[in-house]
Symmetry: C2
Subunit: 215 residues, 2 copies
DNA sequence: CCCGCAACTGTACGACGTACACCCGGTGCG
DNA sequence: CGCACCGGGTGTACGTCGTACAGTTGCGGG
């Protein structure tokens, strides 16, 4: 579509790939498609990225870099932890299809390392020994990511998204009411909660409070 | 490899697909490969499954069906919730590469609905209103799944798994120690914690305690 | 015996990642 | 001023994937 402005740069390609993912899902991010979108041969991509996986790496790094990590303060550890998790969430939410890319790759680049260091420090301040801190930190990061990424791995085309949601909700509500009363009552929330503000708020609280309860 | 015994059945195919995923990762589960593994033409698969996605659906359903959901007891809600999450974990752990399939598909079949109903009921007993119950239930299921699935989305060949782990750990330990002291100290745990018993135990506790703290 | 249908085959198409060979045009150096 | 270099891009080709469409088997019941 978009013709080549003058020269391709790695960063514009990454941005283009993110837009593609946001608009049509991660499966639309393709070497060929990315090339076509920039009016260029597929093989041209290999000048900027070693292979497709390193394109995905770059997207993940872009995502992690966009986390606006709050500076350390004198507030208690749980407030700060909550703020960090919130910052990660805020960075990922605009890009649900790409969010999952960040999972395996947090520790690949400097911003992710800084992030991990901060989380580990806060967990240690919360009273967790190093081993448990590491485990909990890993899990916290994974959880926040999956908060955003869930249900968007392999999303359908954006327009029948709403249609499918409606359909699934109807399907749930057609269940035998004596067997699954709560599922039926909760159908709208179960189907629709992804992407809602209070879904994120509630579960970030859950995580932070869970850490506190570990002692 | 394995020749056709006499006739193919949907269930044996699903089992074969799970074995394939366990042995070589989810990306090895291919219509063509599954056919070849059973000494048959790729197109033969389309008699048993509408398309690849419905094969994945079937694998997810198989996984969820294998959860040995404990019967309701008179124990307090948190004990029971913990038991249920543990049961899900136990069912998923033998199949890390396929675990992620269960995310979007829990509510597709009867066993998953039963599971959701039980969780919702326990959360309500914990004092959460229906809306928060639905949100928390969704998140709890996603989290348990991502406990297992994390780091195994797109795993490499099984033999250099260990090699990569070693490499990554070395890479982490080579960082500037004044900047990332905790990351470096935790390097073995950060890289290696996936699949460890205490990683799962700790984080299930975190989740259940987190729910309790929501009031 | 043979007919029907469940189960499987054969061939083909378009999309994907990517190896390998080639080439163009601007920049720096003699 | 000319030319060689090389960063960035082209063209072609291969093997793999999912799967559409049409044909073929063989077994069980009339």
């Amino acid at each position: 579509m978009a013709k080549r402005s003058v020269r391709l740069s790695r960063d514009t390609l990454i941005g283009c790939a993110m837009d593609l993912a946001d608009a049509e899902g991660l499966e639309a991010v393709t070497i060929r498609r990315l090339a076509q979108e920039n009016g260029v041969t597929p093989m041209a991509m290999y000048w900027h990225f070693n292979d497709k996986d390193s394109l995905l790496d770059a997207m993940a790094e872009h995502l992690i870099t966009s986390v606006d990590l709050p500076e350390p303060t004198e507030e208690p550890w749980d407030v700060q932890l909550r703020a960090i998790l919130g910052a990660i969430l805020a960075a990922l939410r605009p890009h649900p299809p790409a969010a999952g890319l960040a999972m395996r790759r947090v520790l690949n680049a400097e911003p992710g390392l800084k992030l991990a260091e901060r989380v580990l420090e806060l967990l240690s301040r919360a009273g967790l020994d190093p081993h448990r801190s590491a485990n909990a930190a890993t899990f916290l990061l994974c959880s926040v990511i999956s908060l955003v990424a869930a249900e968007f791995t392999n999303r359908p085309e954006p327009e029948d998204q709403e249609h499918l949601v409606r359909q699934k909700k109807a399907l749930l509500e057609a269940l035998s009411p004596e067997r699954y009363p709560r599922v039926i009552a909760a159908a709208p929330d179960l189907v629709n909660c992804f992407g809602q503000d209070d879904y994120f708020e509630l579960n970030l609280d859950l995580l932070v409070q869970g850490v506190r309860a570990l002692r």
